[in-house]
Amino acid sequence: MDNFIAEGTQHTPNISMNASTGVISMSGQSYPENTFEFYQPVMAWLLDFFASTPQTDIEVNMEIIYFNSGSSKFFFDFFDIFDAEKNNYKITINWIYNPENTRALEAGEDFIEDFVNLSINLVTTK
């Protein structure tokens, strides 16, 4: 299946999802005008990806410096999909944040709290 690549904009993050390596990355800020619409293809890709029964471990790197509530909702929904697949694959999620950005850290902690069975690491940027 095709990889998914989206260049970041002022309101949206860089998104790169590689079907063959299983590496999924998002970096930048996320406050699109219509968050649901913006992330719909991302969700669709991920569902297709799992439906294609990939033969790979999965690594998710999230480095989001600022995001709106809609994006927050999306992240939860996004992680729900991994949560549902956690027994079928080795899934590692890295929530990457700048140590000075305590809001990003808090968000990461919220995900850990919510997804107790997912392997979510809090990783600081250098």
Binding site: S72, R103, D110, D114
Partner: protein
């Protein structure tokens, strides 16, 4: 007791419903809990970001004010250097600045441009830094050759400032170049006439002469007000733009007020 097949099926169906129901309830509970968390965190982030934004905005504003104040002071100081060599006081450039602002304002020039002229006009005599002391500070009248040298300060000032792309210094270049032009075309260095002279030049010419006549200089005592006013009226349309002379007399009290506030102390 053995259950009939339909009952078994019914029970099984109820069990499935119960399972689905519980699953849905769990999901709803999770979503509700998540939702309030999302909103709480989001509000927190927004507050933080907006506070940070406001703080940065204020910093930029402060910095801008600092830059403008510094620029203003540097220009005054620079102007005062030229004046100091000719034994003028620093107040001369400050008064000229205020007079040019008033004249510009009542000429209908936009506020921003008035402010620009106010800041630039103190540099009108900057070219005097290149005039020898013997001429600049000569007590008594200059002879023809000396006057020729003295007149060069307008061109020199222009040449010093003309290459700048900064609006302030561009304005100052015009002022330095044209503040000795006369409305009737007999001024220097270009002998421009009427509206050929930039409005900045016409304004500064009047501001500079009014101040020069009002104040004592090395080569002369200050003039009495009646004599100054008579002279300015006499030069209406000759040395000075008639409209500016009219503005000056229409708002005379304001010009006099500036003169008193920024009086030289000897």
């Amino acid at each position: 007791m053995t259950l009939s097949t339909p009952d078994k099926e019914l029970l099984h169906e109820i069990e499935t419903l119960k399972h689905d129901f519980n699953h849905t309830i769990d999901k709803l509970t999770k979503d509700i809990k998540r939702h309030s968390k999302i909103i709480l965190r989001s509000d927190h982030r927004q507050q933080y970001e907006y506070d940070a934004l406001q703080k940065r905005h204020q910093e930029v504003k402060d910095l801008n004010e600092e830059i403008e104040a510094t620029q203003c002071e540097v220009v005054f100081t620079l102007g005062a250097i030229g004046e100091h060599r000719s034994k003028e006081t620093g107040y001369h450039v400050k008064r000229v600045a205020q007079y040019t602002y008033l004249l510009a304002k009542y000429s209908g020039i936009a506020e921003e441009e008035c402010e620009l002229l106010k800041q630039a006009s103190p540099l009108h005599d900057i070219g005097k830094v290149a005039i020898p002391d013997a001429i600049l500070n000569k007590p008594g009248r200059l002879d023809a050759d000396e006057f020729t040298v003295m007149k060069e300060h307008a061109q020199i000032g222009y040449e010093m400032l003309q290459y700048s792309q900064r609006p302030l210094l561009k304005t100052a270049a015009i002022v330095a170049h044209q503040h000795h032009e006369k409305y009737n075309g007999t001024g220097y260095p270009q002998g421009l006439e009427g509206k050929q002279i930039h409005i900045y030049g016409r304004i500064t010419a009047l501001a500079d002469v009014f101040d020069a006549l009002s104040c004592r200089r090395v080569y002369k005592a200050s003039w009495k007000d009646e004599a100054i006013f008579a002279y300015l009226k006499q030069e209406r349309g000759e040395h000075f733009d008639p409209k500016l002379i009219d503005i000056f007399f229409d708002h005379l009290d304001e010009f006099i007020a500036i003169r008193s506030q920024l009086e030289d102390t000897y």
